[in-house]
């Protein structure tokens, strides 16, 4: 039997980016907040320190910072005619685990989305006509977010200042600025910190891209370019380019994370209580099924608890947000055969994978001198920054030399035609390791009625609950988009002086066996209409108004960019409404 605990005002399910950010907003209003984290507690000192943190095998290959999929996996199939099987080891995407969540092991790539992204369907129809979208794929189910860029801008600004994002503005209040990204959505002001130093691979890319008339700019980074004190009074240091960022925690207080930018303040607040190693099983509803009464969770010793709460915030990784809704019976599950239902609908991923550019042996790239977000890139092919009228697809990708490391188990490129092992392989690795540049293509993945999340009928987690089932393949639209851009990027590789260029681009079928992106999105999306969205524009569940679902599960379709900063802005946006509207009069913030 579950032990019933003393009621609190708010529970967050997960203590990563959204869980810690939302909790801080609410404890400052005087509410009592409990944060339930599935993983262990951890902090920069002593847990993230050198030398142990610089261990490629433990963190990159064995994935020590990731969700333990021996306990909770995800099942996967490419289409609904197949039987989904468990992803027995993470490869394609890497949900984080432990205090701070995936926002500890992220790379710090800190973009805003574009104006058109938030009104995507409206924008595409206005620019290309209503028939165009149907021609791109009748299965596509893109839609508007029901929040605009202008509404989010102050929240983007606030979140960037919390992190201390280092970059160069390309567009301040509509005025294009030299050195920044001219395609950037208008910002109210410059980045909090100047851009990072440009490594050699970035300088070579810049020269090549410029020679073709593109617009290179320094990637905005939450690995800081200089010491910085954030608005909470927390001090960060300058990144030292150690080359152990993505999949790693930062030992230097140089990467913005909950540990460096939020938690030291939150954990001191007497209104906050953190409980780690606590697995939430479900949100409990009253007998009307329109009001949450709290959550049921199991602690590390296997004891079950019921934690009553007035307000429940689902703040886990996007896939886990969707699973929590499904396990709790909140919202109607999506049915791809009828197109009805909403939970699990519009699950989207991201298109990635650019070319490998093999350079002359005289050019020492030194890829191991790198931060997680020290790229030089162009946005000429991002989103709808180029005319798609005659292309037969929507969407786009940013392109850049964004090398985050030279860690050799993961990075030992050999040109096409070289055997996969043996002496010739070994000599090619020695020849090319320090003379190769990876270019990233990274972009949109559109929503399709064929791609969705639901509960698996067969496979269970360590607590006996169904695993989440993912049914996904890239829509043909995404393949056409990625392959079109792949040709353009090969030209950039040539302009960089590449001797051999291995072409990039996304192919079908999507496979779970190769790392691509941890930007899983959608499945519990926001919108204007309860028949096509799970949550309203304030991320509040239509069916259970005292539950909010925060994070990228809210995205109706995925954007060009790495999504963390947009998640932060959306969280501030939702919390603004919770604090200023919901708490004054709990109930639906939007009447459909």
């Amino acid at each position: 039997m579950a032990t019933r605990l003393k009621p609190v005002d708010v529970v967050t399910i997960g203590v990563g980016l959204t869980g810690s950010l939302a909790a801080l907003e609410l404890v400052e209003t005087g509410l009592k907040v409990v944060g339930l984290e599935r993983g262990a507690g951890r902090d920069t000192v002593p847990d993230f320190q050198s030398p142990a943190i610089h261990d490629e095998l433990r963190f990159s290959i064995r994935k020590a910072n990731m969700q333990d999929n021996a306990k909770v996996a995800v099942t996967f199939r490419n289409n609904a005619n197949q039987t989904a099987l468990p992803i027995r080891r993470w490869e394609s995407f890497l949900p984080g685990q432990g205090l701070g969540g995936a926002f500890v092991h992220w790379n710090g790539q800190s973009f805003r989305a574009q104006v058109a992204d938030f009104i995507y369907k409206t924008h595409i129809e206005q620019r290309y006509g209503k028939k165009f979208l149907d021609a791109c794929g009748p299965e596509l189910t893109i839609q508007d977010w029901d929040v605009t860029y202008d509404e989010l801008e102050p929240h983007y600004d606030r979140f960037e200042c919390l992190l201390g994002v280092s970059g160069k503005a390309g567009n301040i209040k509509g005025q294009i600025r030299p050195g920044g990204n001219p395609f950037e959505a208008p910002r109210s002001r410059e980045y909090p910190n100047p851009p990072m130093k440009e490594p050699y691979f970035g300088a070579i890319f810049r020269k090549g891209a410029e020679s073709l008339g593109y617009h290179p700019y320094p990637q905005p980074s939450a690995n800081l370019s200089r010491p910085y004190t954030n608005p909470l009074g927390l001090q960060l240091q300058a990144c030292v380019f150690c080359g152990f960022c993505e999949r790693y925690a930062c030992e230097h207080y140089a990467k913005a994370s909950p540990q460096t930018t939020i938690l030291p303040v939150l954990l001191k607040n007497p209104n906050y209580e953190l409980r780690t190693n606590c697995e939430v099983l479900r949100i409990n509803l009253d007998n009307t099924r329109t009001k949450a009464t709290g959550v049921t969770y199991v602690d590390a010793a296997g004891q079950e608890y019921e934690q009553p709460a007035e307000l429940v915030l689902i703040t886990a990784f996007p896939l886990n947000n969707v699973r929590t809704l499904l396990l709790s019976g909140i919202g109607k599950p999506y049915d791809p055969t009828t197109g009805e239902g909403v939970v699990g609908r519009n699950y989207t991923y991201q298109t990635t994978g650019g070319p490998t550019v093999f350079m002359d042996e005289s050019i020492n790239i030194n890829p191991f001198m790198a931060s997680g977000a020290n790229g030089t890139m162009i946005d000429d092919f991002g989103g709808d920054n180029f005319d798609h009228a005659n292309l037969g697809f929507i969407g786009g990708q940013y392109v850049g030399a964004i090398m985050t490391n030279g860690r050799p188990i993961e990075f030992h490129p050999t040109p096409p035609g070289i055997p996969k092992w043996g002496l010739e392989w070994k000599r090619a690795v020695a020849r090319h390791y320090n003379h190769t540049i990876l270019i990233q293509q990274h972009g949109t993945s559109v929503a399709s009625r064929l791609n969705y999340l639901d509960l698996d009928p067969t496979y269970k987690d360590a607590w006996g609950q169904p695993l989440l089932r993912m049914t996904f393949d890239f829509p043909d639209n995404d393949i056409r988009m990625s392959q079109y851009i792949a040709d353009k990027v090969v030209e950039i590789g040539r302009a960089m002086g590449g001797k051999i260029i291995e072409r990039g681009g996304t192919k079908r079928p999507y496979t779970t066996t190769v790392y691509q992106s941890t930007h899983n999105a959608g499945g519990a999306i926001m919108g204007t209409d309860p028949t096509t969205s799970v949550i309203n524009r304030y991320l509040q569940c239509w069916d259970v108004p005292n539950v909010f679902s925060l994070g990228a599960s809210a995205f109706p379709q995925n954007i060009t960019y790495n999504y963390s900063v947009t998640i932060g802005a959306l969280t501030y946006w939702a919390l603004d409404s919770i604090k200023n509207k919901y708490l004054k009069s709990p109930g639906p913030l939007v009447h459909a």
Partner: protein, 247 residues
């Protein structure tokens, strides 16, 4: 600086006892900085027949040449042995509930074997097959060994329930890990994998170097196990997984 040693010497097909001695001598010849102090491998996981196959196989997967030692000299068999004897071999972070069925390539690994079970099962089948044919792998010529490894890689064989391409993929993944992972895990002896490519290891900062474009870094690499005095505390018996950080 590095003496020439031909691949043939390393793959001449010696029985295990003499192979160990030969490996010891080969390392002394190829990696002067660790010299005669390099210990012979004490196998915790592989039985002698399995170890003989592994030693001979990794010597073909990453062979020694006149420039750099190969996987055998880098102690990759020792790395593999300790990984398979430890938590990773036992299925750490592997979702292990059935039902089991063959999936599509995009669904990834779907066998019920842990890594340890996979290696024992496949190696037993390989050694049985080759013993019946009177040609233990370690006694084949280098060309024959390469051909046999390619036949495993191609995936036609059933190794006691393990498809041979699955076994080859695991063998190759462990070989690359053992060649390039930190020496603290028992492979990459004398950091030869890192020296070969110029990876400096676990240095903490390049702040002052990152904008000196194209410079040649010629510092010796540094291991996690190295202390401030440059002494190495590598322990070949280190578990495959470090305990999680204290709370």
């Amino acid at each position: 600086m590095i003496k020439t040693i031909s691949a043939a010497v390393l793959t001449a097909g010696l029985p295990l006892e003499s192979a160990k001695t030969d490996e010891h001598a080969a390392i002394a010849a190829t990696t002067p900085s660790i010299g005669a102090a390099a210990p012979p491998t004490t196998y915790l996981f592989f039985n002698p027949e399995e170890a003989a196959f592994i030693e001979a196989a990794v010597a073909r997967l990453i062979p020694a040449d006149d420039q750099w030692p190969g996987a055998l000299e880098a102690a990759v068999p020792n790395y593999m042995d300790k990984q398979l004897a430890g938590a990773w071999g036992a299925g750490q972070r592997l979702y292990r509930s059935g039902p089991w069925q063959q999936g599509t390539p995009s669904q990834g690994y779907q066998l019920p074997f842990t890594p340890a079970e996979l290696f024992h099962t496949a190696l037993a089948a390989i050694n049985k097959e080759l013993a019946q044919a009177s040609t233990p792998f370690a006694k084949m010529s280098a060309d024959q060994q390469d051909a046999y490894l390619r036949s495993l890689e191609a995936g036609g064989k059933n190794l006691g329930g393990v498809p041979s391409d699955e076994f080859f993929a695991a063998l190759w993944a462990f070989t690359v890990e053992g060649f390039f992972s930190d020496p603290v895990y028992g492979g990459n002896r004398d950091m030869v994998g890192w020296r070969m490519i110029g990876f400096p290891g676990a240095y903490a900062s390049y702040y002052d170097l990152v904008d000196q474009h194209g410079i040649k870094i010629d510092r010796p690499p540094m291991s996690l196990a190295e202390d401030a005095h440059g002494h190495m505390h590598a322990d070949p018996g280190i578990p495959a997984y470090l305990p999680p950080p204290k709370q």
